[in-house]
């Protein structure tokens, strides 16, 4: 679990409550609620999991079990700028491992980590389906394709200065 303190706002709590009410009583509600909760908070800290467990009347252990099973659910906060390097087969064959290395070197953190100032986090993903542009990385939803390791610093510069 994250060591950073939980800083939820009342607006976020309200949004979560509304989402739970919408799915209450629905079969298999836990997954959609977790998706929504992560959209609201950016991650799933234990405080949020506890609310979901209580409200949906599901044991906390089960909520935690589901939240940790799926790679898209994260218990750690993400950076302001989310970087994701595709390591799917098409990208890998075209050298995306070198792109990931270059990003890690540039930011001084490893894949899966967040910079101490919470500005950047790096993740890898398996295929975003833009195989025609391989190798690709995604920064805040923006896809950068046909990359070489040399392009990385220039792209990140834009976000560093922001």
């Amino acid at each position: 679990m994250s060591e950073l303190t939980f800083e939820g706002t009342p607006e976020q709590a309200d949004a979560l409550k509304r989402c739970i009410d919408e799915h209450r009583g629905e079969a298999g509600a836990l997954m959609p609620v977790l998706h929504e909760a992560q959209n609201i908070y950016g991650y799933l800290p234990s405080e949020v999991q506890t609310v979901i467990a209580d409200e949906l009347n599901v044991p906390l252990a089960e909520v935690y079990g589901v939240a940790t099973f799926y790679s898209q659910f994260t218990l750690n906060p993400k950076g302001k700028h989310k970087i994701s390097v595709c390591l799917g087969t098409a990208c890998y064959v075209k050298g995306s491992d070198k792109i990931l290395e270059a990003v890690e070197k540039e930011l001084g953190i490893k894949c899966g980590e967040c910079t101490p100032d919470r500005k950047f986090s790096i993740d890898s993903c398996r295929c975003v389906g833009a195989c025609g542009l391989a190798p690709v990385m995604i920064v805040d939803g923006e896809v950068y394709g046909k990359l070489t390791a040399g392009d990385v610093a220039g792209i990140l510069d834009k976000y560093i200065q922001d």
Binding site: E62, T89, A90, R126, A149, G150
Partner: protein
Amino acid sequence: MTIQELKKIAAERADLINVRRIVREQAEKLAPATGYRKQVLVCGGTGCTSSHSLQVIEQLEKSLKELGIDDVLIVKTGCFGLCALGPIMIVYPEGAFYSQMTPEHAKTVAEKHLVKGGQIVKELLYADTVHEDGSVIPFAEIPFYKHQMRIALRNCGVIAAEDIREAIAAGDWFALAKVLTEMTPEQVIAEIKASGLRGRGGAGFPTGLKWQFTRDAKGDKKYVCCNADEGDPGAFMDRSVLEGDPNTVLEAMAIAGYAVGADEGYIYVRAEYPIAVTRLNIAIGQARELGLLGKNIFGTGFNFDIHVRLGAGAFVCGEETALMASIEGKRGEPRPRPPFSAQCGVFQKPTVLNNVETWASVNPIIMKGSKWFSSIGTEKSKGTKVFAVGGKIKNVGLVEVPMGTTLGTIIYDIGGGIPHGKQFKAAQTGGPSGGCIPAKYIDIGMDFDNLVAIGSMMGSGGLIVMDEDTCMVDIAKFYLEFTADESCGKCTPCRIGTKRLLEILTKITEGKGEPEDLVKIREIAEHMKSSSLCALGQSAPNPVLSAMEHFGDEYEAHIKDKKCPAGVCKSLLNYYIEPDKCRGCTRCARNCPVGAISGVVKGVHEIDTSKCIKCGQCIENCKFGAVVKK
């Protein structure tokens, strides 16, 4: 909604769609009747959107407005298949195929081509569609499309993906009307059985039989599910269908619902496909509005509705029992079978589960008949298969061909061959569960059984092309990293086996391999195949086993000679500068991130291998090809 109303919607837009389907001369005659002088189709699939096709559409709309053109229709479609050339834009009735569009290009096309009396802007067309003498070839006749036969992808790139009326005009929902009014459930199942359709998700199980089992299962409540958890990295045909023609999936699920006696369906789709999810939800909303989903469809008393469930990034959820656990809101872990999902599936009710591409083949089978469908393909694999061709190939994209089409046709005739004059080495099919097809099998007919016979599998249809620069030990390691990461951990053979195999392969790529490692790999693989709980573990050793079988010499080279013939495994390589090729331009030294290269201007440079981190910057920067790995 009545069938007459459905026909009316189709009739209103039939000409519009026809212009996009027929040859140029006829299309030009038909165009005036549609009310639009020209139609511009821009790909709004994930590939083209990633290369900014939405900005192209924006610019087009702006330019048309500025030029005062109001008789040109802009249509945002799904994927055309030729993703390497995105963003793609096609102008009808001419069928002019513009590739790699930018907003500036769009402006030029609007000003020079879309205006009244305008001419095709040849220099912006995809080069393969222009003859040497300057005449334009209709894109359907270029090699990439000429060898294809589009059944599952029939409407992708033809219709506006977010408009159910265009889908209806292209033929969607008529198969549901037909089965509800003219066929009994038994007849529907018999028709699907007779077509020989087999599941496109990987295993190739006969679809009609699956429906029969679910129909025969006892229970008042049954479900129909769609597996859209396309996890195989490098495969994106399911996404393309969902983005380009979501209605065909909804319709086919309703048909199955009628056939097996279900009134509710779930689509389990990857959360990594936001555009597909959006379009599915739009299609479901529109279908409900028109009464094509919901109660008493076509006034026949048949009820059916569909929910969308998002995955959350677990590869194992493509396995049916894991997928169903996930729909129920649980950890996506598989369970032992029997009971099979036909008897005990989602929420412990009888369930029929098919893959997106399978669903997309149902409408044509019902409309054109099982006889037509079974006349395509090979003896035991009927119809067509979509391959997502990627890796070291010129025309990266989606290709739909009759079953039994040779690998060579796909790679060379359609795919355009290997770029940069490199040699074709192998193709990987079936992703992390499949194996490689070495170059010597270039003439193999691609169908379910042929691929299994040579140690690979069809899988969902990912086809990754590899050239001489791909190391077969490294690629096997890559797949094992994937399966070790994605193993759910429930059963021991898979959990431990993937980890041990990965450790051994890592050791080999680091030059620490021993001859008995190959024996160990085979032993572990055998246990995993025979005793893993689900297909993930049972098939995880396939990539390494098939690579060892077809490229045994490469494994030997890594283990005995401590060399990587493809020049990939870093620990086994060093970078050198060839003195006779070095001109002393200092580019490599300036770009070396660790200062490992020394030398003076116009003097031969040298790499200090003890400092070198083997990042490859020097190779990329050398203009004289003087840096080599060996």
